[in-house]
């Protein structure tokens, strides 16, 4: 029979844990709203950008004259995997699902005899990948000090990536992140950013690229826009990731709060039972003592 005092301490500690998880859930909910707003705000830019770039890319095609970023280096031997995760844990399967997807991709590529390089964004992914692929990791981007994710962060990552591409350190770059679908569902996604693949716009936007004048010429604009396209894609991925992280944390903390509640109920029942048992025991002792007289 557990000691009454121990049980009481246990209940207290679970109660304070519940308070913490509850608070974290509320913080995550507020942050989620902000993250979603940020994602919402960036959408008009991303959409226009992709439409224009899609039209241009379709016009230039993948001919030899096309920029390297569009056509690729003509090889696919060295793959760069950009794994974007959170800086913090306690968000359910958020980090592990991305890492799992990246690991699966890395294994498949290695099995094909390709070279794999890994660049991590966010501490958690780095920690999880370090044990297995420490020798493949080339760089790490630390965003732990970042309070509010801005375009500049994405641009820095993109500039770093482009520098490596220009130095022919890799042929294909893929980013891994969680696409936000809802609070309870985030989809781990792999997206190839270099060489860029833009879908030619359809429907209403199909005219983009065909009847426009270009100033300076088409090739120069494309050369100017493609690096920005990489930054835009990374920025969009970072925002999606941010929203997903908060969503995942919110539901994880909701679960934890509920579990703590259940635990408190069970412990309270146990506590009351043992208290009752102690009282009964004492009564028996008193009664039998009285009878013995």
């Amino acid at each position: 029979m557990p000691n009454l005092k121990d049980l009481k301490n246990r209940i207290e500690s679970v109660k304070s844990t519940r308070k913490i998880t509850k608070a974290m859930q509320m913080v995550a909910a507020a942050k989620l709203r902000r993250a979603q707003e940020a994602a919402e705000q960036s959408r008009p830019y991303t959409e226009r950008f992709n439409a224009v770039l899609g039209g241009l890319a379709a016009a230039v095609g993948t001919s030899d004259g096309a920029p390297l970023l569009l056509r690729g280096s003509g090889d696919d031997k060295v793959h760069m995997l950009v794994v974007m995760t959170a800086e913090r844990g306690l968000c359910g399967g958020f980090n592990s699902t991305i890492v799992k997807l990246a690991k699966a991709r890395a294994q498949a590529l290695l099995a094909e005899g390709k070279t794999v390089k890994i660049l991590t964004v966010g501490k958690k992914g780095r920690e999880q990948l370090k044990s297995e692929y420490a020798n493949l990791m080339v760089d790490h981007v630390d965003l732990s000090e970042v309070k509010r994710l801005g375009y500049d962060h994405a641009k820095d990552i993109a500039v770093g990536l482009l520098k490596r591409f220009e130095a022919v350190e890799f042929d294909v770059a893929t980013i891994f992140y969680n696409r936000f679908q809802s609070v309870i569902s985030q989809i781990p996604t792999a997206q190839q950013v270099i060489p860029a693949s833009y879908d030619a716009p359809e429907g209403e936007d199909a005219g983009v690229g065909s009847d426009y004048d270009y100033e300076p010429d088409q090739d120069q604009i494309l050369a100017d826009l493609l690096p920005r396209g990489v930054a835009t894609q990374i920025f969009a991925a970072l925002l999606e990731n941010g929203a997903s992280e908060q969503g995942a944390r919110m539901s994880a903390m909701d679960n934890a709060t509920r579990n703590a509640g259940d635990m408190i109920d069970n412990l309270t029942i146990e506590y009351n039972r043992s208290r009752q048992a102690v009282i009964t025991n004492e009564l028996i002792e008193i009664i039998s003592g009285a009878e013995a007289l």
């Binding site: 940020a38 705000q41 960036s42 008009p44 830019y45 991303t46 226009r48 950008f49 224009v52 241009l56 801005g150 375009y151 994405a154 641009k155 983009v208 009847d211 426009y212 004048d213 270009y214 100033e215 300076p216 120069q220 604009i221 100017d224 826009l225 920005r228 835009t232 920025f235």
Partner: protein, 131 residues
């Protein structure tokens, strides 16, 4: 002929403006250009500089650090990497814009240097106006 057109100014972080305007002067890659309603469709890259927007509610200016603009007869969308409304811009906000412009002026090809320096001068006047 329509006397206004739709003007959208968006940056990756937010949508800064969406309104009806009568003309917009933009710092295009090949020089300043003014877009008016029924302009021929053009896509141009932007240099760091200042956008002057003339609309029914008066004139508004934005500082941009680059990006591109898409002009068609119905309107104009400017996709700027970073854009700041001049009216609530402070000196520190503008410094990156001026730095980018200075950079561009220093690196510009000789035949384009005039243009880049003009923009820089423009920006510097704007900044000195503010103090």
């Amino acid at each position: 002929m329509a006397d206004t057109m739709q003007f959208d100014l968006v940056s990756p972080e937010q949508k800064l403006a969406s309104l009806q305007v009568s003309s917009v002067q933009i710092p295009g890659a090949d020089g300043q250009m003014t877009a008016m309603p029924n302009h021929a469709p053009v896509i141009t890259t932007l240099r760091p500089g200042v956008l002057h927007v003339k609309g029914p509610e008066g004139e508004v200016s934005y500082a941009v650090t680059g990006g591109f603009a898409e002009i068609n007869p119905e309107g104009l969308s400017v996709l700027a990497e970073k854009a700041i409304a001049m009216k609530d811009a402070s000196m520190s906000d503008l410094e990156p814009v001026v730095a980018a412009a200075r950079d561009a002026a220093a690196n510009a090809a000789p035949e384009q240097r005039d243009m880049a320096e003009l923009l820089l001068a423009d920006l510097e006047t704007l900044m000195s106006d503010m103090v």
